[in-house]
């Protein structure tokens, strides 16, 4: 069992995520440079938060062409393991069409950093299996382009196939469609979420519940 935390130029949460996996959970973890395409050693690949390529043009728009990201579809097809995109990672996965919809500028037009409540909408997924259905979890957010949008058809199929994993509870911090905070793909192996579980993975920072998302993924591998 080996995990990869991808490092793009401009990634800022790579070390934070690495710390949770390696130091807190004791998982064999590598920081993997964005040019790497040999992904077979890894059963978990995390695209961390940050500002890959400065978020220029659109968040994730440039990183989605990185060799590593180009290698992901095959990785997913062959069911090699799980891909988790956090914040900027989520944006990259939508730009790469590995996840449906898009993430656009917050309704407020401003960057927003605060702790929000999210509700577990589906706990039958690798990311959430250690949570109760409907459980409310406090997680930090920190993004300027987190407003999830999708066409009516996309939304329909997301609902039909239970791909909506997390919704904002109460306040909708960025104006996301139907309060969507996290989704997965049809195979249930690719996940994207705007909140930062790695930033609430220790009691020092609050409930520490963030770590359970990583534990869920690991327990399902």
């Amino acid at each position: 069992m080996r995990a990869a935390v991808v490092v793009f130029p401009g990634s800022t949460c790579d070390h934070d995520t690495y710390y949770v996996l390696k130091e807190l959970l004791g998982v064999e973890t590598d920081l993997v440079w964005y040019r790497e395409t040999h992904l077979d050693p890894y059963s978990l690949i995390v695209l961390p938060g940050g500002f890959s390529y400065g978020d220029y043009l659109r968040a994730g728009a440039i990183a989605r062409f990185a060799p590593l990201v180009q290698a992901l579809p095959e990785y997913v097809e062959r069911g090699r393991g799980i891909v988790l995109g956090i914040c900027n990672g989520f944006q990259i996965l939508t730009e790469a069409r590995l996840l449906p919809g898009a993430l656009t500028k917050n309704l407020s037009q401003r960057f927003l950093c605060k702790t929000v409540k999210v509700r577990i909408e589906n706990n039958a997924t690798a990311l959430t299996r250690l949570f109760q259905l409907g459980e409310i979890v406090e997680l930090p957010i920190a993004h300027g382009e987190g407003r999830y949008v999708a066409s009516a058809e996309t939304l329909e199929s997301l609902k039909r196939d239970r791909q909506i994993v997390l919704r904002y509870e109460g306040e909708n911090p960025n104006g996301s469609l139907e309060q969507i905070a996290g989704i997965c793909d049809k195979t249930g192996t690719v996940f994207g979420m705007m909140p930062h579980p790695e930033r609430n993975s220790e009691k020092l920072f609050g409930s520490g519940d963030g770590v359970r998302f990583f534990q869920s993924v690991l327990s399902s591998l």
């Binding site: 130029p9 800022t12 130091e23 500002f51 400065g54 978020d55 220029y56 950093c113 920190a142």
Partner: protein, 717 residues
Amino acid sequence: MRLSPEEYQRICAALGRRPNELELGLFELNWSEHCSYKSSKRLLKLLPTTGKHVVAGPGENAGVIELQNTWCVAFKVESHNHPSAVEPFHGAATGVGGIIRDILSMGARPIALLDSLRFGEGAHARRLLRGVVAGISHYGNCVGVPTVGGDVAFDEAYAENCLVNVMCVGLLKKSELKRARAGGVGNKILLVGARTGRDGIHGATFASQDLIGETEAKRPNVQVGDPFTGKSLIEATLEVCQFPELIGLQDLGAGGLATAPAEMAARGGVGIALDLEEIPLRDPTMTPSEILLSESQERMVLCVQAGSAQKFVQVYRKWGLEAAVIGEVIAERVYRIRHEGRTIAEVPIELLVGGAPVGARCDVPMKRQGVGARCNVPMKRQGVGARCDVLKELLRSATIASKRWIFEQYDHTVQTNTVVGPGSHDAAVLRVKGERFGIAVTIGGNGRFCQIDPYEGGVRAVCEAVHNLISVGARPLGITDCLNFANPTDPQVFWSFEQTIRGMAKAAQALELPFVSGNVSFYNQSAERQIYPTPIVGMVGLVEDLGKLVPMGFQREGDLIYLIGQLEGGHVGGSEFMKVFYKAWWGDLDRTDIELERRLLRAMLALTDRQILASAHDVSEGGLCVAVAEKGFVRGLGARLDLGDSCEEFLFGEWPSRLVITVAPECEAPLRKTLEEFGVPYRRVGVVSGDSLEFCGERVSIAELYRIYEAALPESV
């Protein structure tokens, strides 16, 4: 800004000839106020700079103090006032980038930013505020350094000339410390990071003049920051800092290549020869002087051992950055500029760096404005109304109101070290992964105090930072400061500058706190007005055990509320109360009893260590009532205060050396005992209870006050 005739004479005499155009340009930059500190040097020597924790002091790119287990912090505050006044977004953004690279050049990883901002009160000021906050957010968030704290104040004195002071804190092991020096004849000089373009030419001279009649022509090209390149530069540079062949590194700030390599040579006691054609340019048509004077952002100079350059270049290329050998260390102590093989400028290092004549100035006391008399205004007669309404007005004033609208635009949780972020305590606290201790940081300063009494204002600038640190249970260790003043050739301005420094020095000496870094920003004025003398103090402290952190807010109903420190004799001079209700800051300041400050500091450290405190908060803008309300906001807890029918000075005055603390009833005896042990006066002023504030026979709900406190800023921007 041209050189004075005397300065020009000195150069000719020293060179034994007239300098050519290019050499003149070099001197103009190196001898500019911004780079040479010629007006301030003499006075800055008054500040204490030594102490057992000091690893590197003034003169380096940033100060460094040791915390524990060879863990050190590098920190410095710097201003970007003029660029922000001209182009708030990019001005503030490049300010953040610049101070981050100062920290980086010490070999430290930047772990926190703080920003101290001053704006006017009109529509234009709000535009500046929006732009500046967006710019800081843009750069700081993108490079992944959390902005964990700061302070903001509003006063017409800053209407045109806003202040943007940014502090950066970096973490390093003592063994990783780097110096900004060149050495070893034949070793190579590398320029790394972004390409060199026509950005901000004459920025340093621009920073050395005021904004009066500021014209397109006189204004340098706006510098546009590139946080993406800035982030890659951080990672690549921290990577090469592991190479033993790295001899020294230095960021390129105002002055660019005209100053940075020369400073490195001066520190190393060597000379440097540059080959301009080796410099990667954005526009090949740039002239030698444009290349030398360019202030393009996201660049650093490295001095590396001959033969190792390739190794360095590769790392920067990997990160998508430029890296080129642009020169070498030479034995002759000159700064030699070569272009296509020809030497086009050559000047002695010692003359260029630090050769500027240190200005002697006549000092004339400032004209006192407003009424000199201590003013104790019987409010009722002034029709100011009930005390509750006074409190609401104060909480509504932008300087006191919640800064949430600002700090929620800053990523303050990235790097997962922020134990205490903005908004809930007097200082921010960071953990160091794997350690018990924490790092407490704060920044602030009160220009109005200095306008009334610059000496006392200087004392208070240091003392309030101390209060903020001891309130969270931290031991203050070191200071960085940014002195924002108007035109220093104005005798009154210079007098207030000297008084402020003397005040800061006095307080720092008494409290045994070294100034390890700092920055001076002069010419902060417009055609309309001069800014208040505004010293901004950044301070770093050590929380020995994160388990002993002291909260700011009320914790439990029934806890007892104590006011400790200076209990009597205060006035309302210079207070926010005076500004809000009398549209004036006049009135005298009460002088700080520095002996009491010493005792207060020691007492708070003991109380923290013995875990007697339930909460602590210093009394600052708005006075006692505002401090109590702020303590209530954290958990929505109220308080019953028995202040009798105390006068307004007691409730709203901002006299020094006061903290409001709470203790559980069973801790009351140990509290009194400890305070007596250290000789700190105390007075029990009430009890935590319910969800509203009761004082002087009046009653107001905390929820209502909180709504006012939170709504004020969003509504006004």
